[in-house]
Structures are given as structure tokens and as C-alpha cells.
């Protein structure tokens, strides 16, 4: 596989704030790569260095074997035609129709109108807006506006699509449809997609690989599958955190961290094969142990099944430690939440 984007030794500061701190990142052609982090983590700056909307103070940006950081203005403008970008707030021209909005990058490249027309018809079919070509952006829903923006970004047949919080302003339904469209574009055209988001859910649904960013640094770069193999993975923690439902308040009230009784409350994380094995019922039978399942959730991430269980045991300390040993042997992660002080809730 070919390297499409190579970022080496990027450093950028705004005054005293360091936005990028020694970033090294290599992206393959055709992959969907997600960068996740809180606002202010520097992910937006990082995304903008790929097309040099932000120029790093130090370091090199190479896109498709072209060193962007050493291009002239004129050459950089040419290179940008091959890097599409979409934004959180769509950034469409409100004075122009859907058709003219999509035509804009091609008119800037001075393509003949006949060719533009054909390309737009193709794109409108792709984003499923053929009936809206004469509408103005104010007549469209958020999801439709983002579809227009995607069509516009694809109009110059780019090799890369940069997505800046592309679904953050959308409702869940539109988010879903945009993510499906991005996935389709990646598969159909082999375009490399880089997206930044603060939602793990977006990364989980379409990305092949992800990076976690904080204070200008990449804390972790991993494939979505690889995340589960690494017990110290921050991404795994985030995935599980997203999976775990909040404990109901009635349960929290009767929870004591140091009561040391026979009713411990445990949270168990599992993934892969362990998720499908009947661990609880086997253990219950073999140890003659009462296990009370209070909450459970399960999900599939890039083909890996993962889940969370919150259980209450009814066991003396000796039985408790035997249970924990079994969990360890089965590669489950156990988190001790406390002891239930009123087992009759």
C-alpha cells in the first residue's frame, strides 16, 4: 500500500499555546483515519496542516509524494485541487444554487461548462440530490447541505477528503446518512479520508485507524482492532466508557466503597471470543455462585464484539477471589465499583 499523507516533526504554536507538538503521522492510501480529541487539543490545526491552511512552524507535510511545505504559492494552489475539504458548518455560498455551489471549484480550475455539467449530474446522483440542483442552501436541511458540500469537495476528483467535525452540527439520523456516504465514497473511489471529531461514535462507525490527540500531541495511533489488544489503550477505555451505561441513582445511593460485605458490585469488560462464550452461566454453575446481572451492553467495532456487564455477586471473600481468578484466566477486565449495602433494592 502506498503512503498518501506523511507528516513529520510538525510543530506549531500560537503565542504561548502549543497547538502541535512533534507530530509524526503516516496515512495509507484509501484508509479512513479518525483523529479524536477534546476541543483545544489541536486536532483542527493538525487537519489544516494537511492542505496547509495552517502552515507548521517546523516539520514537513508530504501529500501524494509532493512536499507541500516547500511548494510555491502557485504550486500549492494546484495541489489543493486534489485535497477536498468539508466543514462543520458546511460553508456553502448562500447566494448560489446547489448547482453553482458544486460547480465552484471546477470554475476556479476553469474547466469547460459542458464538462462541469456532466460532473455535477454524476455527483448529484452520488449524493442523492438530483432533484435539488436549483434549490438554494437555505431551502435544505443540515444533512442535505453537508451532502452538497461533499459533492463540491469531490468535484475535482480529489485523492484526499478532509472532514472537519463534519457531523457535529447534525442530528443522529443525518449523521448516520453522512457517515454511510463517506464510507461509500472511500470504497467506491479509494479516496483517503481524514476526519476529526470529538465523538468516539463517529470513529467507531467508519474509521479503520484512529489517533487520540491531547494538548498538541498524539497519545495513541492504532487500528480499531488493535485497540482491544492493548490493555493500556486510551481508545479502548473511551470505547468502553461509551458502551457503559450510567449506574442508576438508586444503585449509587446504596453503594459503599469500603463496606467489605458479601455483595461486591463489579463491572466486567470483555471483547472478542470471550464476549461470545457463556462465561457467566458456566462460572455460576461451577462455583455454585449467585450472579446478579444489573446492566449489560454489547457492540461490534470493526468486526470485534465487545461488551460491558455490571454484576452483583452474592459470595463470601473466598468465593469472590476465586471468581476474580477465573475472570483473569478468561482475560476479562474487572473493575471494582464498591459494595452494595442494601442487597434488597
Amino acid at each position: 500500500m502506498k503512503r498518501m499523507i506523511e507528516l513529520t516533526g510538525l510543530y506549531k504554536s500560537f503565542g504561548h499555546t502549543v497547538a502541535l507538538d512533534n507530530i509524526n503521522l503516516f496515512l495509507q492510501e484509501g484508509e479512513i483515519f479518525g483523529i479524536i480529541g477534546k476541543s483545544g487539543a489541536g486536532k483542527s490545526t493538525l487537519l489544516r496542516t494537511i492542505n496547509l491552511l495552517e502552515r507548521p512552524d517546523r516539520g514537513e507535510v508530504i501529500v501524494d509524494n509532493q512536499v507541500l511545505t516547500s511548494l510555491s504559492h502557485q504550486e500549492l494552489r494546484q495541489a489543493r485541487h486534489k485535497i477536498g475539504m468539508i466543514f462543520q458548518h458546511f460553508n456553502l455560498l448562500h447566494s448560489q444554487t446547489v448547482y453553482d455551489n458544486i460547480a465552484l471549484p471546477m470554475r476556479i480550475q476553469k474547466l469547460p461548462e459542458q464538462m462541469i455539467r456532466e460532473k455535477i449530474n454524476e455527483l448529484l446522483t452520488l449524493v442523492n440530490l438530483s432533484d435539488k440542483q436549483n434549490a438554494y442552501p437555505s431551502q435544505l436541511s443540515g444533512g442535505q447541505k453537508q451532502r452538497v458540500a461533499i459533492a463540491r469537495a469531490l468535484s475535482c476528483s480529489p485523492k484526499i477528503l478532509l472532514c472537519d467535525e463534519a457531523t457535529s452540527a447534525l442530528d443522529p439520523e443525518s449523521t448516520e446518512s453522512i457517515l454511510v456516504l463517506l464510507k461509500q465514497i472511500s470504497e467506491q473511489f479509494g479516496i483517503t479520508i481524514v476526519l476529526i471529531t470529538h465523538e468516539m461514535d463517529v470513529v467507531k462507525r467508519i474509521c479503520h485507524r484512529l489517533a487520540i490527540m491531547e494538548q498538541g500531541r498524539l497519545l495513541e495511533v492504532n487500528s480499531l482492532r488493535g485497540v482491544f489488544e492493548n490493555p493500556h489503550s486510551l481508545a479502548r477505555k473511551m470505547l468502553y466508557a461509551q458502551l457503559t451505561p450510567e449506574l442508576p441513582s438508586c444503585l449509587k445511593r446504596h453503594l459503599s466503597p469500603n463496606a467489605q460485605n458479601d455483595h461486591p458490585l463489579l463491572r466486567i469488560y470483555f471483547h472478542g471470543d470471550t464476549a461470545t462464550a457463556p462465561f457467566i452461566s458456566n462460572t455460576s454453575r461451577e462455583l455454585n455462585l449467585n450472579i446478579n446481572i444489573l446492566l449489560a451492553n454489547i457492540d461490534r467495532v470493526d468486526g470485534v464484539t465487545c461488551g460491558v456487564l455490571v454484576i452483583e455477586l452474592n459470595a463470601n471473600p473466598e468465593l469472590q477471589s476465586r471468581f476474580l481468578m477465573r475472570c483473569q484466566a478468561a482475560n476479562l477486565i474487572v473493575e471494582h465499583l464498591g459494595y452494595v449495602t442494601d442487597p434488597h433494592l
Binding site: 494552489r77 495541489a79 489543493r80 455560498l93
Partner: protein
């Protein structure tokens, strides 16, 4: 009202309209590039030195009251038109007075465009000229027309002042009859005509600005 007076009123109205139309055109032709350049030097192709310089020029010329500018510019007017009285002579200070005003309005219009538009333009690989032609102008067209309307109405006001130093037009007439001869009828007639002119300019401006949207 005597026939001569009606003739005088008609002539003065025509003169006012002429001064307003020509000086509005002049202010737009000079102020649009000036305001656009100011905005470009701030946001599109940052050049802090140029931005400060343009901003200073605009502020300085805007801080001079028009009536003073009118007098101060007499030598320049004489140089350009060959005379310092008459409606042609009035047009020089009118344009010079309205240009920085309009330029500032133009800069404001661009600044109120959505934040991400310029970045979007850059991401498509636009040149500075393409940014103006394909993004700034089309998106700003409607508020730009409103800014021209405001400028034209300000020029109706300025043209009356220009009249007082021998420029002709409705201002000149109102001063001569209304103030110097205590003829209230003429005064009221000029006020009514001025109100009608301003209303018309606003109506036309609103209509065009709506079309541009």
C-alpha cells in the same frame, strides 16, 4: 408660487440628482477597491502594514466634518475643475468625502460574511482575485447594494451642504430663499422634494438588494 420659482425648484432638483448620481458612482468606483483592499490586507492576504495604513487614511478623512472638507478642498477643486463654484465643482469634495465612508462600509460588509467562507475558498485553491470574484462579491452583493444606498442618501445630505458654498442644487436654493429671504414656502418645498428623493433611493436600493440575495 411664481413660474420662475417653479423653474428654479425644478432646476435645483435636477442639479441635486445629478450631483448625487455622479458622486455616488465616483465614491463606489473608488471606495469599493479601497474597502476590498483593506479587507484583503486584513483577512485574505495578511499585510498588517498596508491594513494599518489604509485604515488610518480612511479614519483621518472620515474625522474631518464635511463642511470643513468642502472649504479645505477648494484649491484642489479649482485645480481639477478649473472653478470652485457650481455643481461640477461640488462633485470633487462630494466624492472625496463619501469614498472613505463607503470604503469603511464595504470592509464591514465583508467582515460580516460567515467566518468559514474564506478558508473554504483557500481549501479549493483560489487565487486572491478568484476569491473576490467567486466568493466575496457574490456573497456580499446584497449588503453591498445596501451600503451603496446608505452612501447615496448621505450624499443627498452632503450635496445640500455643498450647495451652501455655491454648489447649486436644492441646498443652495433653500439657503437663498428660505434663510436669506425668509421664504418659508420654498424651504418647505425643498424639504418635501428631498424627502421624496431619499425615499426613492431607499426603495430602489431595497429592491435591488433583494434581487441580489
Amino acid at each position: 408660487m411664481s413660474l420662475t420659482l417653479i423653474y428654479d425648484l425644478g432646476l435645483a432638483t435636477a442639479e441635486t440628482i445629478y450631483m448625487v448620481v455622479i458622486s455616488t458612482l465616483g465614491a463606489v468606483m473608488l471606495g469599493l477597491p479601497l474597502g476590498t483592499l483593506l479587507f484583503l490586507s486584513k483577512r485574505v492576504k495578511p499585510h498588517p502594514g498596508l491594513a494599518r495604513f489604509l485604515s488610518a487614511i480612511i479614519n483621518i478623512s472620515r474625522s474631518i466634518p464635511f463642511i470643513i472638507l468642502l472649504v479645505a478642498l477648494i484649491p484642489l477643486t479649482r485645480l481639477i475643475v478649473g472653478s470652485s463654484i457650481g455643481i461640477h465643482a461640488a462633485i470633487v469634495p462630494l466624492i472625496i468625502g463619501a469614498t472613505p465612508f463607503f470604503a469603511r462600509l464595504v470592509d464591514n460588509v465583508y467582515q460580516h460574511l460567515p467566518e468559514g467562507l474564506i478558508e473554504t475558498g483557500f481549501s479549493m485553491g483560489t487565487s486572491t482575485w478568484q476569491m473576490i470574484r467567486h466568493i466575496l462579491f457574490p456573497e456580499a452583493l446584497s449588503p453591498l447594494i445596501q451600503a451603496i444606498t446608505v452612501t447615496a442618501i448621505t450624499l443627498v445630505n452632503y450635496s445640500a451642504m455643498a450647495g451652501t458654498v455655491g454648489g447649486g442644487g436644492l441646498g443652495d436654493l433653500a439657503i437663498r430663499y428660505g434663510y436669506q429671504r425668509f421664504d418659508a414656502k420654498v424651504m418647505i418645498a425643498t424639504i418635501i422634494i428631498l424627502i421624496i428623493i431619499v425615499q426613492l433611493i431607499q426603495m430602489i436600493g431595497d429592491k435591488w438588494s433583494h434581487k441580489g440575495n
